[in-house]
Amino acid sequence: MMKRKLLVMLILMVFAATGCSADNAPVETVDEQIELTLSWWGNDARHEYTLEAVKQFEKLYPNIDVKCSYTEWSGYQTRSDVLMRSDTEADVMLINYAWIEKYSSDGSGYYDLYKVADSIGLENFDEYELSFGVKNEKLNAIPIAMNTQSFYVNKTIYDSYGLSVPKTWDDMFEAAKVMNGEVYPIAMTAKSAFFYVVAYAEQESGKRFMEQDSTVNFSVDDFRTMIDFYCRLINEKVMPQVEYFDRKEIGEGKYAGCLAWLSDGSAYFNKAIENGYEYVVADYPTMNGVSSGTGWYAKPATMYAVSKNTVHPQQAAMLLDFLLNSDEMAELQATEKGIPLSTAAREYLSETGKLEGMQYKAFEKMQENGELAVLSPYFENDDMIDEFRSCCNAVLFDKETAESQAQYLYDLYTKK
């Protein structure tokens, strides 16, 4: 009997040693693989570092697979329109400040991030900063940094013409005369040009162009001022037509100044600085002794939002937190989108000596200018800005009169 027991025990020992078992339970369990989508717009540098950040996030969370969708600004808004309308938008999205009003006027167009607050380091933002993303008591988006149009001056070129950094609008025209078409005193994209002429018209009229609720304060005459001013800038060679603005030429010293977003500082001017040009961030041009910030606006540079349709809100919040507050993303992004509002990201940049460069200079200038007016969410309407450009071109090429185009624009902007 004992021997039989011994034999049974031995057999069991062999089975145990060889891992055999009567149980057919699975050998391995695998965590559920979750797919998130992330979309953003930007330039090459932003694409590259965001893709790298996504890789690092996926390493940190191997069960989350992030599918990326990205393009340049031009086209991103159209793509977003299509995706939002078709309920196929990304789980996590880089959005423009204006889109909160456009897609979520009652706060239900994006996921309420307060619901996943435990996964996002909201303590890194103060109430004022978060208020840009709050709609109807729902946190629709979180701003990354504050942005404003900044006036970058190639001091080397101005110096070479014996000119000091311009302070008034008249200085710009004087500079154009001295430069005599060899270089332009300033150059910019169509959107920046819109901000430029609005600032001029606001200073001249003393009126604000648009209120937060989209009410337009400008009259037909004020629109006429904008058109006339744009045409004068072109005709007197203060700046090239926006269609012919070429960023490559900044580095080659073809433009003595640029109006561009604070967040574009490095991307626009690093090449020129490498080529030996000295750049400064100047005060905005003024007239009649108004202060430098008059007629100029600030807004959240870009914001991250989560789709209201996401099926993985917790994981989307984790990704959003990584993009906003992690050391890894702060290291990769640095000041590319401006100076981060997240205290965690800003502290990291400060500790690692990365709070520097053109963006930081523009940030300091923005603070010097005091509290700039907050941009109306309706201000940056690409279609409207396109219309303004078309009207200006029609006048510029004598196809239409400034009066008719001003009336056209007024009707367009005030149409309910």
């Binding site: 062999v14 590259e48 090449k271 071109n393 090429f397």
Partner: protein
Amino acid sequence: MLDRMSGNIGNFVKNRNKRRMSSLKLAMTLGYTVVMVAVIIIISTLVFNKTDDILKTKVSNMNAALNVQMKLNMDSYLERLEATGTLVFAEEEVYSYSATDDTADSYEAINTEDNISDELYSLCIMENFVDFCIVYSNNHTVGKISNGTNELFGSRIYEDFSAMINRDRTNDGWSAGYNDNFKRIYYVKRINDNAVLVTSFYTSELENVFKHPGGIEDITVRLTDKDNNVIYSSIDEEIGSRLENDIAERIDGQISSTIIDNDYLISVNSCGDDWKVICSAPTEIILKEKNDVQFYIVIIAIALSFVAFLTNILLSRRISEPVKDTVETLALKASMDLLTGLYNKKTYEDIVSETIANSSDGDRYCMLILDLDNFKGINDNLGHAVGDKVLAEVGNILRKQYRSGAYIGRVGGDEFSVMLEIPKKLSDTSEFVKTKCAKLCDAFRNNYADSEKKYKVSVSIGAASFPSDAQSFQTLYANADKALYVSKNSGKDTFSIYSESVTGDE
């Protein structure tokens, strides 16, 4: 030695049989175990080899299937992007416009280019294109063009993009690694004499194209151009470098194949413009799983050997125990004289020889040979039955005389021998021998074969000592026998001690 000289005359035989049985059991156990282990090794080796073959075949097939899938993914991706680019031919204004006409109205040109730009943006809206633009022969561009591309090509933008067109049939071409920059992959298609469509995507987009299921992470997926430059690799650091020689040499000239040798498992398929999709892994890593399997086989084999060993011990015990008693009984019978209960001559000779052989310095023994006086007369007059009784009684007397410290054997018909150990403390060995002989003679002196006491059973004794008289059994026995002869010739019922002077001549 004292144990072996014990009075229990069966002890030696039992001990000897026990030793023999133990040796036999050990030999059986070892032999069986060796056979079992050999069988297990042979089976394991066969399993090893079979596993090796199966694994290599399976992994090769899997790698080949993966490679084909990757190639199809790549072809499909490139075709999709080409198809998107081809859509520029849907709008005449887009494909027929030339920005190089200096005489054209600037206002019209701006509006036309706006329209073309809008069209291009709407075409590329859903793909992650980095560039999607038309480049004109005056280097003017319309549509989406990245700063990276602008900076990379500079003033050679039209010329160098035009040079990328290498397919005559479709007037287009793919290119990567322009100026050693592998971040983007370009597709260029001529749309009119003065313009080419340029589209591009980040090489990193191919991670989605070459994404493969888990479980085969060890396989490296690469896309190379016709010069073996690595356009994409699942190992980031390889992108932009030359394909390592070991792999390049193996796939040289191959369009679609799978190769496995001692160093590499490689599958290759060509796609697009002489590009190749290569899936490879070091054979060592592939066979790692086999080694894991082999490890478990070895563990199983060791466990089985252990079980075989234990089973063998159990079985041999179960078999040997019943046999042992029978064998011991038979062996005892074979070694004893059944009439007297003493050792037979052969056993006695073996024991004494072994005792002498194993003796150490200082050991001393004496051998007595006893011969019954007039035993023939007892047999002749009283019959063999009485003779046998007399012999049995002799055995009894001898056992009583030497309850311990002696070997006793019947070495002839009426001849007996006793081997005695001489105590070491005695200095006069001859006195000890004489005393023993005298006592033995006395023990037989009043013995009779019949009740009438007509036939006296006395003994004559010859004695010799070890090592003083002899150093081997044969010499000791012969010398004691010579002394016996002297006793017989001296009138019997007496004893003689061997000395050099005893010749024993008859």
